[in-house]
Structure formats: C-alpha cells, structure tokens
C-alpha cells in the first residue's frame, strides 16, 4: 500500500520531504537565535527537534508554523515557500491554548470555525476526533473541568480536525504528569502509523525523542545549528511496549546524552 502511495506522490517534486527548511537565521536584536539552519522533514514521519533549553527549537517550530518570520532563509511546505500560517499546518501548544470560555466541542471545532466551516458540519467532524482521542462524553465540559492530560487531548483533537498534512507539536506533553505522558507517547506512535501526516515534535526529553521519533535532529545552542541527525531503525517495529528495553533504544539515549551533557549548565 505504501508503495503505491509513494509512486503516486513522486509525480510531484520533493514529495519525500513534506517540509524543508533552507538556511534559516533568526536574530532578536543582537542575539542570534538560529544561524543558517537547514533541515528536511520526511513525509509521513515524525521528526523530533531535541536540544538543551535556549537552543532555538521552539523558535524553529514557530518559524515553520509561520508564527515567526525568519531573518533570512525560507521554509517550504510541499514544495511551496510559506509566507505565514496556512491550512497545511496545525499547531499543538505546550500550554494547550484552549478557549477557557468554550466547551470541548467548540474548542475542538474552533480551527474549522475560523476556516468558515458550517456549524453542523464542523461539529460532526469535531465529534469524530473527540471520540478518536478518547474524550467521548466530555463534549460539553469546559477546560477547567478537565485534567491536564485531557486538555492536551482537546488540543490534539483540534489540530487533527483541520486535517492538515503537517502537525507541529511544541513540547506537547511537558505539562502533563509522567504516567499520562507515557500513554500519550504510545498513542502518538499509533497516530503516526495510522494518520498519513508529517509530525514535527519539539521536546527536551531525550527518552521521549528516541521513543517517538523516526528522525531526531539534535540542535546545539549559541548560535543554534543542527549538530547531528539520528534515525533509529531497528526497534520501531518491535511494538510500543518493547521499545524501552531495546538495546538500540538505550544506546541512542546514552549517545545523545553524551553529546548534550556539556551544554547543560
């Protein structure tokens, strides 16, 4: 199945990369946050941006989202340079960014509401994704009545419901508790497998990055650059419950820590 899909998409140039960053630099006044950074994000895969705090990973993600303008360089999504936010990308926020005055149903359908989708249609789409993220029965609850993990499920359902090809996730699990985070990571693996979307995932957790990623870009700070790209190969197919004790998984975690530890003050 995947072969026919690939053959079909190869008619378009650069089809294997959903997102490409070309020579991105970003200055805040005199401070150089990103310097001449180039990176490719393969279609249908999850790429993590991993690095110590202050390495510009969130800045890069927001530039890809179109929320920040790069000082120089450009981002291509599906071969087209972006000029701002677009319907081909959806964002999942670290602090969830839910409307506190709106219930779950309206929050999930808010992206569609902004795109002018009719109320009945957007609510039926939202219902589907509320079901998919496991929040059936909470449609009419308000964010303050939900736990942190449930709130992020709302944020995820909102991003999924606009059906963007690229999902941008800014440390989406850092504000939820450890057990919920593990569940989220497992769910994310099956999401990557079943949704034909490209995921760009910012995290500061080495274990999390290695666990969920097809490709890990290690970013080093001052000024930010991609120091290394790691593609775990073997343990991906062994099933979510076996990953954490796979020897390749453990080796990669150690290796990344060895290269990052000098940058952690």
């Amino acid at each position: 199945m995947s072969q026919t899909k690939e053959a079909f998409e190869q008619s378009e140039p650069a089809a294997e990369n959903a997102v490409v960053a070309h020579g991105i630099s970003k200055n805040y006044g005199d401070v150089q946050a990103l310097q001449n950074l180039s990176l490719e994000f393969p279609r249908g895969q999850l790429t993590s941006l991993l690095g110590p705090s202050g390495c510009g990973k969130t800045t890069l993600l927001k530039i890809i989202a179109g929320l920040l303008e790069p000082t120089s360089g450009e981002v291509e999504v599906n071969g087209h340079a972006i000029t701002g936010p677009g319907p081909d990308r959806a964002f999942v926020f670290q602090d969830f960014a839910l409307l506190p005055w709106a219930n779950v149903l309206r929050n999930v359908s808010f992206g569609l509401e902004l795109r002018g989708v009719a109320k009945s249609e957007r609510e039926s789409i939202a219902e589907k994704y509320i079901h998919d993220v496991g929040l059936t029965g909470f449609e009419h609850s308000y964010p303050h009545e939900l736990s942190g993990g449930m709130r992020q499920r709302v944020g995820l359902a909102r991003a999924l419901s606009v059906d963007a090809q690229v999902l941008l996730m800014d440390e989406p699990f850092s504000a939820v508790d450890e057990q919920t985070r593990r569940k989220f990571q497992e769910d994310l693996l099956s999401l990557v497998q079943h949704e034909n979307k490209t995921f760009i995932f910012v995290t500061h957790s080495i274990e999390e990055a290695v666990y969920v990623s097809d490709q890990i870009a290690i970013l080093l700070p001052r000024p930010s650059r991609v120091s290394e790209i790691i593609r775990p190969t073997n343990f991906r197919a062994k099933g979510a419950e076996n990953i954490r004790r796979d020897s390749e998984y453990l080796d990669i975690v150690d290796e990344i820590w060895a290269s990052l530890r000098t940058y952690v003050e």
Partner: protein
C-alpha cells in the same frame, strides 16, 4: 452572617441601620432627618406623580444614552490600546489624566461647547464612565495568554475574528468590572450634569426639595436613586460572577 446559630439573609444589616434612622428621626434631633417611615410614605406618594415620572424618564434617558456611548466607545478603544503599542503610548496619558481629573470642573467647558441641553448632560455622563472602562478593557487584553493569540493566528484567524472571538472574551471579566465601576460613576455624572447644566430630571427634584426644606421628599428621591444604581451594579456583579469561572484560568 450567622447570629445565634441562624444564617441571616444578605443585607440584613440594612434593617439595623433603617431602625437607627427611624429612632433618630422620631427623636426629632434635626429637621434634616425625618423618620424613615415618613420618607417611605412620601416615596410611595410621589412615585405616581407626573413630576416624578418625568424626572425619572429624563434621568434614565440621559443615563442610558451616556452609558451606552461610554461602553460602545470605551471597550473597543481599550482593547485596541491593549493590542497596539502606538495607540497605547498616544492615549494612555490622557486616559489617566481624565480618570483622576475632577470632571465636575470641566462641566462649564462642556456647557460652552455643547449648550445647556440634554446633549451636555449625556456627554458629562459619558465622561464620568468611559475612562475606567477603557482602562479595564486595556488591562484585560494585556493579560491575555500569548498562546491563545498564536493559536488563533495559526488556525488562520482574521484580525476581526481575533478581536471578537479571542480578545473580547479573554478580556471580558475585566471589561465587566470596568463597566460596573463606570456605571456607578455615570450615576454621579448624570446627577451632577442635571444639577449644573440644566435643572432637569432628578437634579431638578433635589434642587426643588432641598430649597423648600422638603426633607422626606429629598430622601425619598435619593433612596430611589441609590436603589437604581445598586440594582444595576448588582446585575453587573452577577454577570461578572458568570464569567469568573475562567477569569482565573486564562
């Protein structure tokens, strides 16, 4: 409040003060304070009179028009000030000056500019109410969570969408607080306007009754005014509590 194990309904303390008023009035300490029962009797007598209803109508009209203007201008200006650094720099000094200025002193200027009629009274009312509404709307927008704004942008919100679907609602608890205080100030404004600009409405009644030493009439009208202001303020406080569930969680 709980007294001897009984929970008293809200505002029970008014009974105590009412009783004190009655006693002082009965003792005849001063003509200025007639017994409360006399005042209430007078109140029900004058409620039906054409003079009172005309005064009520004039005051209500000036008050409603002034407050409506203050709200419809104040909220957007405050939100825009909160959003735009430039507009904020331009307008904030003036808002602060007018908020604390003795506006009563400006009334003669308004009379020169806008005449001695209803227009000047309405503008006085607006001037009393608008500044705190602007300042509160501005404060409400400034504390808005940045990622809500980014969220709206990332999902393609137009500036108009962002204004009506994010900024307004996110600032609503502060806006309602501002409107409530603004309305209380507008009550002051409308009465001062009616006393200083043209003697109409409740202002005329106060003037008439105090000049003729009709103290029960004077107090009766004052009670009506207090009751109206209090009811409006309580209604807005009720609306504020309706949105309080998210005020702390934005």
């Amino acid at each position: 409040m709980i007294v001897f194990g009984y929970r008293l309904p809200g505002m029970s303390s008014l009974l105590v003060w009412g009783l004190l008023w009655e006693i002082v009035g009965r003792m005849g300490v001063t003509f200025f304070i007639p017994p409360l029962s006399d005042v209430l009797k007078t109140l029900f007598e004058i409620l039906g009179t054409p003079a009172f209803q005309k005064a009520l109508g004039e005051t209500a009209y000036a008050f409603a028009a002034g407050v409506t203007a203050a709200i419809t201008i104040g909220i957007p200006v405050g939100i825009l000030m909160g959003k735009s650094r430039l507009l904020d720099e331009l307008l904030l000094p003036w808002v602060n000056v007018f908020l604390s200025a003795p506006l009563t002193a400006l009334v003669p200027v308004l009379m020169v500019l806008f005449g001695f009629g209803m227009k000047s009274i309405i503008i006085t009312t607006t001037l009393f109410a608008i500044w705190i509404i602007i300042l509160n709307s501005r404060a409400g927008v400034r504390q808005i969570n940045r990622s809500l704004v980014e969220m709206a942008r990332s999902f393609g919100a137009s500036p108009l969408d962002a204004f009506f679907k994010i900024y307004f609602w996110a600032a609503l608890p502060e806006i309602l607080g501002g409107v409530r205080i603004g309305i209380i100030r507008a009550v002051k404004g409308v009465i001062i306007g009616q006393l200083l600009i043209s003697i109409v409405g409740f202002g005329a009644l106060f003037e008439l009754y105090s000049a003729n030493f009709l103290m029960s009439h004077f107090w009766a009208v004052l009670i009506v005014l207090f009751a109206l202001a209090f009811s409006i303020s309580e209604f807005l406080a009720y609306l504020e509590r309706r949105v309080a569930y998210y005020a702390a969680k934005r």
